[in-house]
């Protein structure tokens, strides 16, 4: 069986397409098996029902938020939403300056309010600490150090002192003289402290206090509860925070990770004052707590007074935990609040009806396109249908895969993008088929027409797909709101279009060109050369330039424009020869 090259190429292309499809199915299967994936794409809130809140971070100074700050803001918001007990919330950045929070159902106003509030980082002296009830400490954690020399304490020490602190409870008498004064602990506060459950930290409002009041709160992991004095240094006073290896007093780098803070001028003065006082105190009151959003993220001991505004915190940090604390200090210190730009609540019934409408619209759209293709291209319409089906399968698999892997969610605008892309994809086939017809009109045999048509059509398809893709990409990167969903599906399908037209439609045409039905130009094939006004002239036949009868005309410039074209000559020639053949 002598196979010609185009045929071999065609089969190779089809095999590649098969490999791609099988690969996508396998990738999806893998995420279903191992990653809790699904065989259907996840739906966005406008199709599923739920609430979408778009937040814009607000910096106090009116500065632009950079990407790093935005990421940190997302994690701050995630903590807050999780704290509200909302499950399955999706929080993403969008367009480089907004944060989109998608929550199933309707959130209570308190949750929204908390999401909006600015992150607050503050330093408060520890007045009293105790083990949280029913908690056993098994893993000592971060403690403190100072800039010059660094011994470390660990939380075991804190525990001892906590017990100590509780027994040696001072009786409040006069009004407190400084932030560390035990006089802050009133009987009422003591009662609150005694009954305080760290689990209630997640309840809104359980751990907020004005800056000049003491605060009852817990370690962020719920292990220790504290009574803290009034705020002494605000987070804004932190100029920078980073993590790194600690250098010993001799300047040799140790293997120990620590967190380094730089205060601004005001912070330096405040922090010096605090540490000068705390260093002279003993036990629990030697510690100060770093409080982020009402939780203690670290409560280091004061080893010496810090006068240069550059304290360092050491302890049992890993590289990662030091980094986390440094980030919390750096970004939590930003007075970053969030303004709700839009909040949209879609009921589940409305979402479902929109999804249904979208699907119905898609089906009608496909039916119309298929109908038109069959009328215009007869049997070739079958190739269009098959290509659309394959394109549909590939697109579906890609979207499902991205939904599993990247958390992509299909929105109503995304569905619109998919429907619109039916037209875009069908466009490519039309460009190609019309090209083949043009080549047939020029008198080529079908196999030749398929190859020549492909060369030219592919160029056109490529450039137009590039243009389309640029449009989609620009929309995706720059536009906000549901534009992205639309641009995303449009971009994906543009790429799918290229793949399908090259790996399916063209190979199919190459193979079909060998069949008698198409190759001989059956009237129903859509490629009937006679109907296309062309007649096969034979391979070796040359066309002589037809001499134009020199008919004198009072030619105006309009007449001149109607001078015969090459195609006209071809047509005349074809007509002449056609008559001969008959």
């Amino acid at each position: 069986m002598a196979r010609s090259t185009p045929e071999r190429n065609a089969i190779r292309s089809l095999v590649w397409l098969l490999v791609i499809i099988v690969g996508l199915i396998a990738a999806n299967g893998a995420s279903v098996l191992f990653n809790n994936g699904q065989w259907t794409p996840k739906l966005a809130l406008d199709l599923e029902g739920g609430t979408q809140i778009i937040l814009a971070p607000q910096l106090a100074s009116g500065d632009q938020v950079d990407q790093e700050q935005l990421e940190q803001a997302v994690s701050i918001i995630r903590q807050r939403v999780d704290a509200g007990g909302v499950s399955e919330a999706e929080i993403n950045t969008q367009g480089g300056e907004n944060i989109v929070v998608a929550i199933p159902g309707v959130p209570d106003p308190a949750t929204i309010e908390r999401i909006q509030s600015s992150a607050k980082l503050e330093f408060r002296p520890v007045l009293l600490a105790d083990l949280a009830s029913n908690q056993i400490l098994d893993d000592p954690e971060a403690t403190d150090e100072d800039s010059a020399d660094g011994d470390e304490t660990d939380e075991a020490a804190t525990d001892d002192e906590a017990a100590e602190g509780e027994t040696a409870e001072p009786t409040p008498s006069a009004s407190p003289t400084d932030a560390s004064d035990p006089a802050w602990i009133t009987e009422e506060l003591q009662r609150e402290f005694d009954t305080f459950e760290c689990s209630s930290l997640d309840v809104v409002g359980a751990n907020v206090a004005p800056v000049d009041e003491p605060l009852v709160t817990c370690e962020a992991d719920g292990s220790i509860k504290y009574i803290l004095g009034p705020v002494e240094v605000e987070g804004e006073a932190i100029a920078d925070a980073r993590s790194g290896l600690i250098a010993s007093s001799t300047g040799v780098t140790t293997n120990e990770f620590g967190v380094f803070i730089d205060f601004n001028e005001e912070g330096t003065a405040q922090f010096r004052e605090v540490t000068e006082r705390l260093v002279s105190l003993t036990g629990i009151r030697n510690q100060f707590a770093i409080v982020l959003d009402g939780r203690v993220i670290s409560a280091p001991r004061t080893i010496s007074a810090i006068t240069d505004g550059s304290p360092q915190i050491s302890g049992n940090f890993t590289q990662e935990s030091a980094q986390v604390l440094a980030d919390q200090l750096k970004f939590g210190a930003l007075p970053l609040g969030f303004e709700v730009q839009s909040s949209e609540n879609i009921t589940a019934t409305l979402g479902l009806s929109q999804l249904q409408s979208g699907i119905i619209a898609g089906l009608i759209g496909i039916a119309l396109v298929i109908g038109y293709a069959l009328i215009q291209y007869r049997a070739l319409g079958g190739v269009i249908i098959a290509s659309l089906v394959i394109a549909g399968i590939v697109t579906y698999l890609i979207i499902t895969y991205l939904s599993n892997q990247q958390g992509y969610r299909l929105s109503l605008a995304g569905v619109a993008g998919l429907i619109i892309s039916i037209g875009v994809i069908a466009d490519s086939f039309i460009v190609y088929f019309e090209r083949i017809r043009d080549e047939l009109r020029d008198g080529r045999r079908l196999d030749g027409a398929v190859e020549a048509g492909w060369k030219r059509a592919f160029r056109t398809i490529l450039i137009s797909d590039v243009i389309n893709f640029i449009a989609a990409a620009v929309l995706f990167v720059l536009a906000v709101g549901n534009v992205r969903g639309f641009a995303f599906t449009l971009g994906i399908t543009t790429i799918v279009d290229l793949v399908i037209v090259a790996l399916f439609t063209h190979p199919m045409m190459q193979l079909l060109g060998r069949t008698r039905f198409f190759g001989d130009g059956h009237p129903l094939s859509g490629l009937d050369p006679k109907a296309l006004g062309a007649v096969y002239r034979g391979r070796a036949q040359f066309r002589q330039p037809q001499s134009v009868p020199a008919v004198k005309r009072a030619s105006s410039s309009r007449e001149a424009q109607r001078r015969q074209t090459i195609a006209e000559r071809k047509a005349a020639e074809a007509r002449g020869e056609g008559e001969d053949a008959r």
Binding site: A56, G95, E339, E344, V369, A426, A471
Partner: protein, 336 residues
């Protein structure tokens, strides 16, 4: 074979030919007139009507209410009453969307008021609270969208121009295509302005997508133009304008087919969107695209190609070719 195929044959061979390039003054005038009318009417109407996303405010949507089916008047009075209960003087805008749901727009409400109004509306329309969707859009949101949309437009035009200029190896094609694109954009938005349709973010998506489509269509035509004009070369028996005109004629069937195919799914969304859902994402995207696709097809043929000829006509090379043709074959005419 269908009629279009036969027409296609004739157009391809040149047996039948429309003079797109020659009558360009007519097309330019039509384009300019439509643009002027669109702008004038929009201005007379007092500018564009912007959706709530641009104005800021709160919106409620009650689904599955029987009151909606009874008519706008009934639905409106119910809504006004319910809104009055919660906030006085809120002056709600009420409309029926998609047959059985009511859309109530008010000025911006606080979260508390929003909740109250949801309950009140559910009560008033006799549905459960789960059937009342609410959304709230801050006033700055619209400004955000607008800024981003304009930015997207500029960036896209830049990219697309560069790509086209590189691909076609002549900036004049890029210019012609971009002029046609603006024509499409102005006319499509003009339709919104003239009819007083609300411009929503979804409609803006539509406008921006037209950019892609309009160029796509022009590119298909220009690709053939380039082929014809470059193949002809020095040996050409046609003037430059004739080559372009033939290319446009030869791609006419293709243009019509691709446009029909592009419009069909859009029409389906438009139909379903308006019928089942009323104003909303689907309808707004589809409407803009529907108009844009049609206008885009028109402009590729009637504006972009003639404009390209216009731009090239005075180049010495092209002029020389035209002159040579005249000199060499002064008496030739159509032989048909």
């Amino acid at each position: 074979m269908s009629m279009l195929t036969r027409v296609g044959n004739d157009l391809y061979t040149g047996a039948r030919s429309f003079d797109f390039v020659g009558k360009r003054v007519v097309w330019y005038s039509i384009g300019a007139a439509v643009i002027i009318l669109a702008i004038a009417f929009t201005a007379l109407r007092g500018g564009f009507v912007f959706g709530i996303e641009f104005r800021g405010g709160s919106e409620f949507r009650v689904t599955g209410s029987s009151a909606a089916i009874e008519g706008t008047a009934a639905a409106t009075s119910i809504a006004v009453e319910a809104v009055d209960e919660v906030v006085t003087g809120a002056n709600p805008r009420v409309s029926i969307v998609g047959g059985d749901s009511v859309r109530v727009q008010t000025e911006q409400l606080t979260p508390g008021e929003t909740d109250e109004l949801r309950a009140a509306l559910a009560d008033a329309y006799g549905v459960t609270q789960a059937d009342v969707a609410s959304s709230f859009i801050g006033a700055t949101w619209g400004a955000d969208i607008t800024r981003q949309a304009v930015l997207a437009l500029v960036v896209f035009l830049l990219f697309a121009s560069v790509v086209m200029a590189l691909y076609f190896r002549t900036w004049k094609m890029a210019v012609a295509a971009i002029v046609a694109l603006f024509h499409d954009l102005i006319i499509t938005t003009g339709v919104y302005g003239v009819l007083g349709l609300e411009i929503t973010p979804a409609a803006v998506i539509g406008f921006l997508t037209i950019l892609g489509y309009s160029l796509y269509d022009t590119v298909v035509v220009f690709d053939k133009v380039r082929e014809n004009t470059s193949e002809d070369g020095v040996e050409s028996r046609r003037t430059f304008a004739q080559s372009v005109n033939l290319a446009v004629n030869q791609t006419l069937v293709r243009s019509i087919n691709t446009s029909v195919v592009a419009v069909l799914p859009t029409a389906a969304i438009l139909f379903i969107g308006s019928l089942l859902l009323g104003a909303g994402t689907l309808r707004d995207i589809a409407l803009a695209l529907f108009i844009g696709t049609l206008v885009g097809t028109y402009s590729s043929i009637f504006l972009a190609a003639p404009l390209y000829v216009h731009l090239r006509e005075n180049e010495p090379e092209v002029k020389k070719q035209g002159a040579r043709q005249k000199a060499a074959r002064p008496e030739s005419g159509a032989v048909r």
